[in-house]
């Protein structure tokens, strides 16, 4: 394994609800190397969402360590975590979460608006956003708004948005949850391509066949990692579909 992008050691996350304590994550340790494609699986309540929130720096662990791209982020405050999210993490959500009445291009530019250090010129930002849109095969739809795009196209805009800051990891939370199987395959094809170009991808899913697009499957149950195995028979999304774009 090459250098670790994610290094998590003995991490716990405890929620206090009234007098009961819920150990959503119970002392997990995991390393994810650069260029890996990991699928995180588990039934609801297994702790995979909590895991995603912590990996995505939306939440803080109760104890334990989390090094992201070599930086200890487990003790950072809200604003510092916002900076880390902006610089190191590209989010892709189940429900796309594009801003309505906003063009695809502006949606993709959005993370550049919150750059921590030294803003970027409008031209540079637009240039980068256009490249990312082209990367997901939507160069010609830059001016379309959410309402003018299909579900698959919306998710591809969201992927372009996640790429625009050149993050250390792509964090996809059920990215195919709202898509039909054909469109799901197209979206997974893009993730596979990005991974082959060297991107580290963490995919949260509860669908076993979607998980098989990854290279490694980590399963959660009751806040613990119960299995961590390489994918035996990896599925490959039809490249032709992705390359040809969606009609």
């Amino acid at each position: 394994m090459s250098e670790a992008v994610i290094r998590i050691g003995d991490l716990t996350r405890v929620y206090t609800m009234g007098e009961t304590e819920v150990r959503a994550l119970d002392g997990i340790s995991i390393d994810v190397g650069k260029g890996e494609f990991v699928a995180v699986m588990g039934p609801s309540g297994s702790g995979k969402s909590t895991f995603m929130n912590i990996v995505g720096c939306l939440d803080r662990p109760t104890s334990g360590h989390y090094f992201l791209d070599g930086v200890d982020v487990s003790g950072l405050d809200r604003d510092a975590r916002a900076e880390i999210r902006n610089a190191k993490i590209g989010f892709v959500f189940q429900s796309f979460n594009l801003l309505s009445r906003t063009s695809a291009l502006e949606n993709v530019e959005l993370p550049l608006l919150y750059l921590a250090k030294g803003g970027m010129s409008d031209r540079e930002a637009t240039e980068r956003a256009r490249k990312c849109l082209a990367r997901v095969g939507l160069a010609d739809r830059w001016d379309h708004t959410q309402a003018q795009l299909s579900g698959g196209q919306q998710q591809r805009v969201a992927i372009a948005r996640s790429l625009v800051n050149d993050p250390a990891i792509l964090l996809a939370d059920e990215p195919t949850g709202n898509l039909d199987s054909k469109t799901s395959e197209e979206v997974m094809a893009i993730f596979q391509e990005l991974n082959e170009e060297g991107r580290t991808v963490v995919l949260i899913t509860h669908e076993p066949d979607i998980a098989e697009y990854a290279r490694r499957i980590v399963s959660f149950r009751d806040g613990k990692i119960v299995s961590d195995v390489p994918v035996a028979r990896r599925r490959h999304a039809a490249r032709a579909v992705a390359a040809g774009g969606v009609k």
Partner: protein, 408 residues
Amino acid sequence: MTKTGNILKVAFRALGRNKLRSLLTALGIIIGVACVVATIGIGEGARTQSENQLKSLGTNFLMIFPGTTTSSGARSGFGSNSKLSESDVDAIREEVSAVVYVSATIRTVAQVIYGNQNWSTSIQGGEVDWPLIRSWNVAQGQFFTDADNRAASKVCVLGQTLVTNLFGDEDPVGKMIRIKNIPFRVVGVLEAKGGSMMGQDQDDTVIAPYQTVRKKLMGTTAVGGILASAASNDMVTRAQEEISALLRQRHKINKGAGQDDDFMIRSQTEMLQQAEEQSKTMSMLLWSIAGVSLLVGGIGIMNIMLVSVTERTREIGVRMAIGAKGGDIRAQFLVEAVVLSITGGVLGIALGVGIQRAVAFYAHWPVLVSTNSVSLAFVFSALIGVTFGFYPALKASRLDPIEALRYE
């Protein structure tokens, strides 16, 4: 991409999405600001106007009216029974050193006829000092003389309105007009003077010798009133005191024994103060409407911003996930509230200026749109945006991104 530019763009887009809602929200501010602008404008206009009009009454002007009289314990109203006499006029002229010009005056209304034209107007009787007291010059011809007054000659001087209505383009000087069927020769025409404080057209009048009006038109012995000019502005009060003392002595009024004066003296200064009091009351009223409206407007903005924060919880979550800090979110919503209130402010300024122009137009006031009132209104509305937008913005910035992203 610059942050400020984008925040502004996002704010305008968010407000544009609900145009009607934004407009209704801004309405409170619009009304409030319009009130502020109109209040200040109308107040200034009214004050300037009444100052001009009072100056047009004449310099250091004093007016003596007949007052109440008490006979057998029954007090009658002002002017019901004039105790002012022509000898009072002469006494003031001779004994009050603070006074330079004095004229008895009397007024009636009559139909004035010239050729086939007629016009109902006010006929004022005056003495030779009258134009000096009223600072009202003769434009054509000349004013009548003291001899005309003593002889009760049937001569008169016309106001501009009368000239227009009776003579049109004809030169009235030397022509004969009929007042109550008595022929009068026109000897002069007065300069145009404009409207009075009460909105009456001062030019709609005929001036004739006091004795002529009293004897020939009214058939009375009572003096209608006395007009006087103090020697200077500083002498006004002294003139007032001296006239009061003189008239009390002449009318045998013992003020110490609780007897009422049977006359009243008004000075220009007092009338000015009165006019100012009136415009102050009006201003207070408008200011309180403005205050309440701005408060309600501010609460409306807060309410709508809170709704907006709830509606856009998801958007806030997304922005936070991709790196927006609390401060970025707070700035965005604060700017939105300020844009809303400033837009309201600008519309309010336009409305206020409109109201002010309309009032000025109908009241024949000068239009004074002071930059002060406009900038004050602008700053006011921006402050309201900040004040009432702060809490919703703070609430938005404190959302938990995880919860916000999950919000349906």
